[in-house]
């Protein structure tokens, strides 16, 4: 096993940390969301508005509400983590670690037969 793959005991690699944070933050957000939603809404009332053929009890309403919020939160926080990880690195705006912006010159500069009037 190469040195690179060796991990100190008790320490998580970056991917594990990303997944852990994503799931935990999503869980907290879903908990708060569930508390707030069902504090102002009676799950029994959902039965009247429910369109699927089987009846939904209040426990199922609580569980489905939480599950829905959790899935949405996992998608949002997972996508955020992905976007940040795959995005430009720190210092990008100051020009670090990236290609030089492409050089632009007047098309006619080295090509006297090109007429700039053709391109506005």
């Amino acid at each position: 096993m190469s040195d690179k793959k060796q991990v100190l005991p008790g320490r998580w690699d970056r991917r594990k940390r990303d997944i852990g944070i994503t799931v935990w933050v999503a869980f907290l957000a879903a908990c708060i969301g569930t508390f707030v939603i069902f504090a102002v809404m009676d799950p029994e009332a959902l039965n009247d508005a429910w369109v699927l053929p089987w009846e939904m009890g209040s426990r199922l309403a609580y569980s489905l509400g939480f599950l829905f919020l959790f899935i949405v939160s996992v998608i949002a926080s997972g996508l955020t983590a992905f976007m940040i990880r795959t995005g430009p690195k720190s210092g990008h705006a100051r020009g670090k670690g990236r290609r030089r912006p492409p050089e632009i010159r007047s098309p006619e500069e080295n090509n006297p037969d090109l007429d700039l009037g053709d391109w506005k």
Partner: protein, 468 residues
């Protein structure tokens, strides 16, 4: 601090890099530019006109959220039609896979609202401020009457266009023919006001200011694209083998004798790029596949009497002279799935029965025993007439002729009406004991094709001691 690049041999560190300049995309004409103009007119035309069109006296596209009904081209969708929304989303996802695998980011270059609205904002900008050179000159010039006039006129037109966009957007959710007078009378409701301002602001910010930054930094699609590409995907590429070494020349020069390839290094491909990249550096995630570089390079090639296609839509395999096929199993599988789902959805939508019924058992009593050896089960029938005309319905039990049906009122529903009707099923005790599975048929009197079957469970008393 401005960091100007001194030259390619500058010292190490940040000083090597110059400040990212503001992008003034040069105007381009050609095949793909024309295609984008067509896409802009078609898509924005649909967006701005559809809410004003009426079909059968109803707005052609209206998402009536408070009534929980969607009106789309004369069809009414109810919450129960959720499955079509799910199918629509699956089709949209599959289309993205199909088109990306086929020809890269077609969506970004021609159909994405960010591209389409930015294009219109750029047209307005060019109309007021002039072409690229004039815009650069105007930005550098000191504030004078002309600059103030041009800049304010541009802002005014942008704001007007954004406000019209916000108004139209809200018009998809609230009848637009009532919304117009409400705006003029300043009697717009709070939610309509909020969403009109919000959507106008989003359009103005995204298309006027953020522009390519949305595609470069904020859009997840660019980051996923590599997962959907393979070596047979059509991508916009620079033919390095043919173009290099690049260099300026006169038209009559013999490039081969001078040791040059076909790229004359005019940098026009960079100047037309809305994200400011150099396609000659290879495929980059910033490329939104607008094909402006293809158009301009083809014009340059024509000018120099070189064959077109130094920058073109091609595949990685083709560039490496390998055998490859654009039509490949992956495309065929995506295409077939897409075809099946879209045709299935269309068939389902056109063959929908505009009637829905649910039978819910009365929770208070299992059954009631009536004189004359009858057992009564009570239900609530929730019936929805999803059609746009009134109907009267008959109800019957299919699998047991002895069952009597007693309803609180006749099943007569107006167009798009929902009713809850109390239904009592009276079954002779001799018909059995325990749970009886019944099948009920509800049918419109004027159109037998409008019918639905529902299942009902009737409970009967158990005769203890009568069994051996």
């Amino acid at each position: 601090m401005s960091k100007q690049a001194t030259s390619g041999t500058a010292g190490a560190g940040e000083s090597l890099y110059r400040k990212e300049p503001k992008i003034y995309p040069r105007q381009v004409s050609g095949r793909f530019a024309r295609l984008r103009v067509v896409a802009v007119w078609a898509l924005l035309g649909l967006f701005y006109l559809l809410p004003w069109l009426n079909i059968n006296g109803k707005q052609s596209v209206l998402f009536d959220l408070p009534a929980r009904k969607f009106y789309i081209f004369g069809m009414t969708f109810w919450p129960q039609d959720f499955v079509y929304l799910a199918l629509l989303m699956i089709s949209a996802g599959l289309s993205l896979f199909f088109f990306t695998a086929l020809a890269g980011r077609l969506w970004c270059g021609f159909a994405c609202p960010q591209t389409v609205w930015t294009e219109v904002f750029v047209w307005i900008e060019r109309w007021i401020e002039g072409d690229r050179q004039k815009q650069i000159k105007l930005d550098k010039s000191p504030w004078n009457a002309d600059k103030i006039l041009r800049k304010s006129a541009k802002q005014a037109l942008w704001i007007l266009f954004a406000a019209w966009t916000g108004f139209t957007f809200v018009g998809f959710f609230s009848p637009i023919r009532e919304l117009g007078p409400a705006v003029l009378n300043l009697s717009l409701g709070p939610w309509e006001t909020f969403w009109t301002i919000f959507y106008s602001f989003a359009t103005y910010g995204n298309a006027g200011f953020l522009r390519e930054q949305v595609c470069k930094y904020m859009c997840p699609y660019a980051r996923f694209q590599s997962a959907m590409f393979d070596k047979d995907t059509l991508i916009i590429s620079y033919d390095e083998e043919r173009g290099e070494p690049r260099g300026g020349r006169r038209k009559d020069d013999n490039a081969r004798e001078k040791g040059l390839g076909d790229c004359i290094n005019c940098t026009l491909c960079v100047q037309v790029c809305p994200t400011g990249i150099d396609i000659r550096d290879g495929l980059q995630y910033e490329c939104i596949a607008c094909a402006a570089c293809i158009d301009v390079c083809d014009q340059v090639m024509d000018k120099m009497s070189y064959p077109r296609g130094l920058i073109k839509y091609t595949t990685e395999h083709a560039l490496k002279h390998n055998q490859g096929h654009v039509i490949r199993p992956r495309i065929m599988v995506y295409g077939a799935l897409l075809l099946v789902i879209i045709s299935g959805t269309l068939w389902g939508m056109t063959h929908r029965v505009p009637l829905r019924a649910d039978l819910i058992r009365d929770r208070n009593a299992l059954y009631r025993e009536l004189p004359g050896d009858l057992v009564e089960n009570v239900y609530t029938l929730k019936i929805t007439n999803m059609d746009d005309q009134a109907h009267q319905y008959d109800i019957s039990v299919l699998n047991n002729d002895a069952v009597e049906i007693d309803m609180s009122k006749p099943l007569s529903l107006q167009a798009e009406e929902v009713q809850g009707v109390s239904v009592r099923l009276r079954i002779p005790r001799s018909e059995g004991q325990g749970v009886q599975a019944l099948e009920l048929l509800i049918q419109a009197q004027d159109d037998p094709s409008i019918s639905t079957k529902i299942k009902a469970k009737a409970l009967m008393p158990l005769k203890f001691g009568s069994q051996p």
